[in-house]
């Protein structure tokens, strides 16, 4: 693969829902093998960005290139082939609650790769082991799991097919600080050991500092700043500064009525 071509290159991406503009003229590059974290406030369109890249939402304008190929208009088997490169950990883990935990992890193997159930089960249990869950958990129902366990099962399912690119949608939101750090470690382990390209979105700065090589900030529908994680404290951008220090006062105005 040509190193000059970014793994993902986004140009001029726009997405609105009716009159509500969520993304406009957004440019972003993700280099092969890096871990990019996109930060931004709640409702700023981070999840929408990921869903536009995956084609779960149709973009209004702009291009999304994966390995140099525009994917915004792909259909049918070409889209299937594209999606095989991706793994995604959803914000709420999105486990299938009609299936047991191990069947969830084995799902992409059985459905996508047509693997034997028995063989898929062995792989699934190995992946569950990789995220620190025993075989006994594999037999449970997703409804019986705690939030941290759900995220870990979601992670195991995302890496089951050994994708080239993994998306993490708020991997630590709603977890206690210790479990959040466990998830951060797992993400680091997965990305380093498997050499995958990772694109994470979060508003948890501790998590961003830990898992990122590079950070980009999404505000007002576009990327207003990006740079290596080491330079984030000297970013010279008032918006980023306000966000990483969590201040209510500053250029970013939340939609809150002051009494």
């Amino acid at each position: 693969m040509n190193a000059a071509i970014p793994k993902i290159r986004i140009r001029g991406l726009a997405k609105s829902f009716g009159p509500k503009v969520v993304l406009q003229n957004l440019d972003l590059d993700v280099t092969s093998g890096e871990s990019l974290v996109v930060i931004g406030g709640s409702g700023s369109g981070k999840s929408v960005l990921l869903k536009c890249i995956l084609g779960l939402l149709e973009v209004d304008a702009g291009t999304v290139e994966v390995d140099g190929i525009d994917v915004t208009r792909l259909r049918g088997s070409q889209r299937d082939a594209l999606l095989r490169k991706f793994g995604m950990l959803f914000q709420s883990a999105a486990l299938f609650d009609s299936l047991a935990v191990w069947e969830n992890v084995a799902f992409p193997l059985i459905q996508g790769r047509r693997m034997e159930r028995r063989a898929a089960r062995d792989v699934a249990l190995a992946k569950l082991g990789a995220v620190g869950l025993g075989a006994d958990v594999g037999a449970l129902n997703p409804a019986e799991l705690s939030g941290g366990m759900r995220k870990r099962v979601g992670l195991a399912r995302a890496i089951a097919c050994e994708p080239e690119i993994i998306f993490f949608d708020e991997p630590t939101t709603g977890l206690d600080p210790i479990m959040a750090d466990v998830i951060n470690d797992l993400i680091l382990k997965c990305t380093r050991e498997m050499g995958v390209t990772a694109l994470s979105i979060t508003h948890d700065m501790a998590s961003a500092r830990k898992i990122a090589n590079r950070v980009a900030m999404l505000h007002d529908g576009r990327i207003i700043w990006h740079g290596p994680v080491a330079t984030i404290d000297a970013n010279g951008n008032a918006h980023v500064d306000q966000f990483i220090h969590g201040r209510a006062e500053g250029p970013i105005q939340m939609a809150v009525l002051h009494p």
Binding site: K51, L54, L56, D80, L83, R84, F86, G87, M88, F90, Q91, S92, A94, L95, F96, D97, S98, F107, P108, Q111, G112, R157
Partner: protein, 257 residues
């Protein structure tokens, strides 16, 4: 506000909704006939729709058959035409009440459950997850339900027809003092293949519509628990309305032949 503009808006909204539904149905049927199909999932839905609906449909059918016998006795006695009771019961059951009552009961039971299940999968991003795992939600969720609904409703209606006739028989023989042999002979005498077939065609159409409405409203639900609740209600209401309208259309199609 301009009233004509308001009417126009409603009309356009109606057209858009019809178009969306037609596209959804077309895509669902396409995936139902194009391999791969999932026999496991179809089997599970068949059990869910057919087997678990047996008690409700059976109870509805037996009481309908019983009340039909009683009511038509009251009416026909005035013309001294009591022997027509058996015919009335069997024709009403096979042509009308079997399919329509079974359809409405299954719409309440199964259509609602489908909308709730698929709607919950939508709002918890499970449908997005299916797509990212290279599994088409139409193939995995919608097609098995459509296939199972279209196959199982006719089978349920066959059972309902038999139970309904049995209900009529019980009332006629044990309460109205008809001879058992004579009643059964009257039942068979005027029954034609077309009576049963038209009922089963209706049942297949109703089964398709129930599953389609359940899947459609679930698939397009949004906005958390309340959205799923609305989807459930809409699935049952729209399926019931479609059952009653298509019932007339199918009857007319058979009637004019």
């Amino acid at each position: 506000m301009n009233p004509i503009a308001a009417i126009g808006r409603v009309f356009l909204f109606f057209l858009a909704a019809t178009g969306r539904l037609a596209l959804f149905a077309g895509s669902a049927v396409f995936h139902a006939v194009k391999p791969p199909i999932y026999p496991r999932l179809i089997g599970r839905q068949m059990v869910e729709i057919g087997y678990f609906s047996l008690p409700v449909v059976g109870l509805t059918a037996i009481f309908s058959g019983m009340v039909l016998a009683l009511q038509s006795y009251t009416g026909f006695q005035r013309f001294e035409a009591e022997s027509a009771i058996a015919t009335v019961v069997v024709l009403s059951m096979t042509r009308e009440l079997g399919p329509v009552l079974a359809g409405l009961m299954v719409a309440g039971r199964v259509g609602a459950a489908m909308a709730a299940e698929i709607g919950t999968m939508r709002v918890t991003e499970q449908i997005d997850a299916l797509t990212t795992l290279s599994t088409n939600p139409f193939k995995y969720l919608v097609a098995p339900r459509l296939i199972a609904g279209t196959i199982m409703l006719p089978l349920l209606v066959m059972v309902a027809d038999v139970i309904g006739v049995m209900g009529g028989y019980l009332v006629a023989v044990h309460k109205l003092d008809f001879g058992p042999i004579a009643y059964l002979e009257n039942t068979w005498e005027h029954l034609e293949t077309q009576d049963v077939v038209s009922g089963l065609v209706k049942a297949a159409a109703f089964g398709f519509l129930i599953a389609l409405m359940g899947c459609y409203h679930g698939y397009h639900s949004r906005g958390g628990a309340q959205g799923v609740g609305n989807a459930t209600t809409n699935a049952v209401v729209s399926a019931s309305i479609l059952i009653l309208t298509s019932n007339y259309l199918i009857t007319e199609a058979f009637f004019s032949r």
